[in-house]
Amino acid sequence: MASVGSPLRVCRGILKELRAQCGHKYQQSMAYRYMMEQFRKNQVTSEKLCRAQQELLHQAATYLCLLRSTRMHLALHEEYHGKGESKPEDVAKLVGLRLPQQPGGKGWEN
């Protein structure tokens, strides 16, 4: 089994992501209620290596990864790709360059 972290950490992570997505009313969301039900049903029992628990934990960690990476991908998309076509000046700035100033205009214009 892959090392996934403690159930508490994964659970908290998911709740954090749900809160970020749904706002303050996240506790009424279906996802929240389902998560809490699953985690409660599968509390750490005396058998620490319970297979069903391990499977659920991996699934929860996968869901956490989904929520987190989707949010971050969206954030990066908005920041770098969401603004449509940029002006040449902005594109040059991306790599730390500036466009040259030509007071007389480029020779071939008008």
């Binding site: 279906m30 391990q54 990476s69 991908h73 998309h77």
Partner: protein, 279 residues
């Protein structure tokens, strides 16, 4: 009111896999890539045959093919509903991976059956990322050996097959027995789960890594890291470029996580259904 989904990429990055076949077919319909959020509440309900449906306000969600959106797994329905619920003013279809996977499974736009999907999937074995080794630089050679060899050993042991690795352009030769074993294993998955598995395989460019992921031997983050090993090596040496590296990494993670979750939930649902049928 027609509700069709388009899972397309605004910026045209990396077009491959099922999502894009689906996107291309969906784009035949006159739908804009950005739609305003037209609903307030998202809910799920259980309908015919015990399948779970998603409703936006009072209207039932449909697939791009016009079919009723219905899934066998309740947690899957909840997760899809959450995707729709977390949309803000505009709908960002390219972030709704679970919805897209469900649509693909329901509509089957490429009109393939299980055997065809399995054949297509196994082709990736011949060009499996973890089997393709470089000969230089030495740092990367070592990294590939240290990171990929253990996974290959794991899968060889787990499935009693031979895979190996190679640094030639032709790649490793995969014995027919190995192919048959994997083929049999893939055939044991239902159509839905297989759709998800193929998706993960096309994303990670590997058969070995998704198998390890589905068997819970790896986490999504680790599988993605192993798939992107050469990029990670370059990043370690030359630094990371957020708008390219991080972007690709997060996108691959979200797709892989969605595919993995989809496979697990669809497999569970079939197991539960079978148990109910057996009584």
């Amino acid at each position: 009111m027609e509700m069709c989904l388009v899972a397309a990429h605004d910026d045209g990055l990396s077009m491959n896999g099922l999502q894009n076949v689906h996107a291309q077919l969906s784009m035949a319909l006159p739908i804009s890539l950005k739609r305003k959020k037209f609903y307030q509440d998202v809910s799920i309900s259980q309908g015919e045959g015990g399948l779970f449906e998603v409703s936006l306000d009072r209207r039932k969600l449909k697939t791009p093919g016009g079919k009723l959106f219905a899934v066998a797994s309740e947690p899957l329905a909840i997760a899809v509903a959450t995707e729709w619920d977390s949309q803000k003013d505009t709908l960002k279809f390219y972030t709704m991976h679970l919805t897209t996977l469900c649509n693909t499974a329901i509509d089957n736009p490429t009109q393939r059956n299980k055997e065809q999907i399995i054949t297509a999937t196994l082709k990736y074995l011949e060009t499996d990322t973890v089997c393709y080794r470089v000969e230089e630089p030495q740092g990367l050679v070592e990294l590939q050996k240290n990171e990929w060899d253990p996974v290959i050993q794991w899968i060889e042991k787990r499935y009693d097959v031979e895979i190996g690795s190679s640094s030639s352009i032709a790649g490793p030769t995969i014995p027919q027995k190995t192919r048959d074993t994997f083929s049999q294993h893939l055939a044991s998955y239902g159509f839905w789960a297989l759709t998800g598995l193929e998706f993960v395989i096309t994303q990670l460019k590997s058969v070995v890594l998704p198998f390890a992921l589905i068997d819970r031997h790896l986490t999504v983050e680790k599988a993605v890291l192993l798939s992107r090993l050469e990029e990670e090596y370059q990043i370690q040496r030359w630094g990371s470029v957020e708008w390219a590296h991080d972007y690709d990494c997060q996108e691959l993670r979200s797709r892989t996580a969605a595919g993995t979750l989809f496979v697990h939930l669809c497999s569970e649902a079939s197991t539960i259904k079978q148990k109910l049928l057996q009584g």
